[in-house]
């Protein structure tokens, strides 16, 4: 047995280790299971689900940038019904906390999705994606609108007792204001960050490289920004934070925890080395032993400023 306690808590959700697989980067778990023993992972977050299936954006959907990538998948997903019928059975075979990420176009749709998914025991928590570029409320993007984020949190809270995580947009001036609204509206935790808005153009055709024009930037390029957002929240709001953005190795995870994350999500790295999450767990354990850390949760917010 390991001498280091790697388990962490996000509100009432207990994870065997802080490593979650991020929404949109592991589909519904099937393909990644060929590389990762899901039973060893902290938690898995589904691709964003909407009420009805969504076809997503036409190609080209992705492009590479320096130390990063842009994507505009357009929330392609099977919808909650098909998810329950066709995707959950596979995930039931594993002993890994399943977190359903939900994306919707209105407060009502968020609530409806949650209600439909809530009875499924395999689902251990919800992560609400308020930061997808296509989702607007009153002309503003949901994720950039304090009162919209408050309203979604409150209404979804009303229909579920499971841990409720709100995934925040980084494309705002002060992310801690959003974390505060989440807390005040009954949310249990926040994930920070979703992708940053970016674009890229072909200089010969003058057309956007990603068909949707604006796309989301992820990968190591954004890590310093994600760390700053997590730190900002940690300094100002007392709410559990799940750190996401540019994690490539165990060191990045330690860095996220030091600046305030209780757990982390691995995204883009799954595309590059899908076996990394497992290797990282071992490395984290070694670090803790070396640093004489008994429980990895001691790291959370342990910065010395």
């Amino acid at each position: 047995m390991s001498k280091v306690d790697l388990s962490v808590n996000i509100s009432s959700l207990k994870l065997r280790n802080p490593i979650m697989l991020a929404s949109g980067t592991v589909g519904y778990g099937n393909e990644i299971a060929e590389f990762v023993d899901l039973n060893k992972i902290g938690a898995i977050v589904t691709k964003s689900l909407s009420l009805k299936p969504r076809k997503g954006n036409p190609p080209q959907r992705i492009t590479e940038t320096p130390a990063g990538m842009l994507n505009a998948i357009g929330l392609a997903n099977v919808g909650v019904e098909v998810f329950l019928k066709e995707k959950i059975p596979f995930l039931k075979k594993y002993d890994v906390p399943l977190i359903c990420n939900i994306a919707a176009s209105s407060v009502e749709e968020y609530v409806e999705c949650t209600r439909i998914l809530n009875d499924e025991d395999t689902i251990k928590a919800f992560e609400i994606n308020v930061s997808c570029p296509n989702v607007k409320e009153g002309g503003l993007q949901f994720g950039n609108n304090l009162s919209a984020v408050g309203r979604v949190t409150e209404k979804v809270r009303a229909v579920t007792d499971k841990p409720l995580i709100i995934k925040l947009s980084p494309n705002v001036s002060y992310i801690h204001e959003f974390a505060k609204v989440v807390k005040d509206s009954g949310g249990d935790a926040v994930s920070a960050i979703n992708t940053l808005v970016g674009t890229a153009f072909n200089i010969f055709t003058r057309k956007p490289k990603v068909q949707n024009v604006f796309a989301g930037l992820s990968g190591p390029a954004i890590k310093p920004i994600a760390l700053a957002k997590v730190l900002e929240i940690h300094q100002k709001v007392d709410i559990p934070i799940i750190g996401v953005g540019g994690i490539m190795n165990w060191k990045d995870i330690v860095e996220f925890m030091i600046v305030g994350a209780s757990a982390v999500q691995i995204g883009t790295l799954n595309f590059i080395d899908p076996t990394a999450p497992i290797k990282i767990i071992e490395d984290l354990e070694k670090y803790c032993l070396q640093m004489n850390i008994k429980s990895i949760s001691e790291l959370t917010g342990s910065y010395i400023i």
């Binding site: 190609p59 080209q60 990538m69 392609a76 595309f271 590059i272 899908p274």
Partner: protein, 253 residues
Amino acid sequence: MLIVNSPVKEIKEIQKDIFLQKIYSPEIAGQIKPGQFLNIRVSETVFPLLRRPFSICDVEGDFIYLMFNIFGEGTRILAHKHIDDTIDILGPLGKGFNITDDFDLAVIVAGGLGSAPFPFLTRLLKDKYEVHSFVGGRTKNDVITYNLLNVQTATDDGSLGFNGNVVQLFEKNLPSFKDKRIKVFGCGPNAMLRALKEVCITHNINCEVSTECAMACGFGICQGCPIESTEQSDKYLLVCKDGPVFNVKDVII
């Protein structure tokens, strides 16, 4: 699907700017099929960040071959590997060519680096089937006939072979195949594959093409590589998982 670190054993410039890399990879060699591909991490660093997809060009015993040109940073780094440097391979990926159909004559239609998957396909077909190859490029430097059989060439500028594109050349030759049950295997730029599809549909010819698409993961988790299906308009197929080889009847290229 495996992730393996395999050593480069030989790098040859088979013709100007076209590289053939021989890699010792028994794991991959043992299970890969023509038309499948590999997603290769050319550097351990964050630059370039993503893997790069390459067709399996050929398999010989425990060795596999890649064929590529220097297109951008990733292929530049790949071309500059030294002997015994290892490269990080994820694969085999995708669905390859179906060679169990009912046909007598295999016709290969390749444009530019679209020749890459065909040495391996040719190797597996040649003992059982007659194989004819139509190979095109913009100029004669872009025509890659390496290890192909019964080759006819076409160039846009007329510098080699038929003056025109390779699909036109293929169509022109169709009459000569008229008594045979033929199957066409195509690879090249999407514009060429569109033209090839049209010809094959018109003449009711069985045709599979290997399509190209920007990819992140290569194995179905990122949804980065959609291609429109002819069957279902409410969802896309994925080039990396459902393809890269499709029957032209099944996709809108």
